[in-house]
Symmetry: C2
Subunit: 176 residues, 2 copies
Amino acid sequence: MPRQTRGLTIVHTGNGKGKTTAALGMLFRAWGHDQRLCVIQFIKSEKGRWGETIAAERLGIEWHTLGEGFVWNPDDMGPAILKAREGWALAQERIASGAYDLILLDEFTYLLKFGWLDTKAVLDWLRAHKPAALHLIITGRDAPPALIEYADLVTVMENVKHPYEQGVRAQPGIEF
Amino acid sequence: MPRQTRGLTIVHTGNGKGKTTAALGMLFRAWGHDQRLCVIQFIKSEKGRWGETIAAERLGIEWHTLGEGFVWNPDDMGPAILKAREGWALAQERIASGAYDLILLDEFTYLLKFGWLDTKAVLDWLRAHKPAALHLIITGRDAPPALIEYADLVTVMENVKHPYEQGVRAQPGIEF
């Protein structure tokens, strides 16, 4: 029988659509409950104007985008790695502050997957510093097993059908 | 190569968390893009004050809840079925109007699963009346195969870990 309320660590992973989108839905609900919210988006380019960043700006939701976009050339990785670590330092500050009800680390799994941060060091830090009442949402493909083990709630999104396969391009409001 | 933009029919199904939540995330993005939005929630009780209904009210998003909550006693099904069919009639009016960019039919699959509406009749109606540019999102468990066949994008949410198993109760901002 469910009997306690506590801050959950929630992971949305898998190759399907909807990982960030489901996190935005939680944000939307939490905003309705007047919760104190912070979003840190990794990887995604700071230059993008996404539906969610416009909406967050209008709603006064604290939002940081700390990414260079996806970088494929190993010689260009340096700035992306520095930016990602800057994002994690900011995340640590916000998490440890105790000033939030819900913090979203969007696309954070890639930092672990690429080895830009050490997964064990990140989880040890969270165990020591995450306030018990804070909900922490982490999204991205290929969540490492240790993160899945640490999390309270893990949802895997799987595509059954995807319109790209049918020649339809990404469109506003749906994909971004 | 992706080459066209058109309204998608999107289905979120599966036994995992995040079906409605991912739909709310799309709504949040679409609101950021100033799209014209309508939500019809089936099954859920009209009396509930959920984070998402509070948020939608504040944002001026058109939102209808047409449900009696989940009903398990067959003798009490009558009002639930009438309410559900009333919801579908409203959905048909809104869909056919051409006045929206995105319509969400939340928990709609149950009407098909329970046989309260005929799946083939619903899909025939959509084929004939859904405007080409309209994005239609349908959520709920056990989406019938014909609906999956009809949809452009189907995501199945699977739970890997769920806190109910660990004795944590549902909490605001996360579950509702």
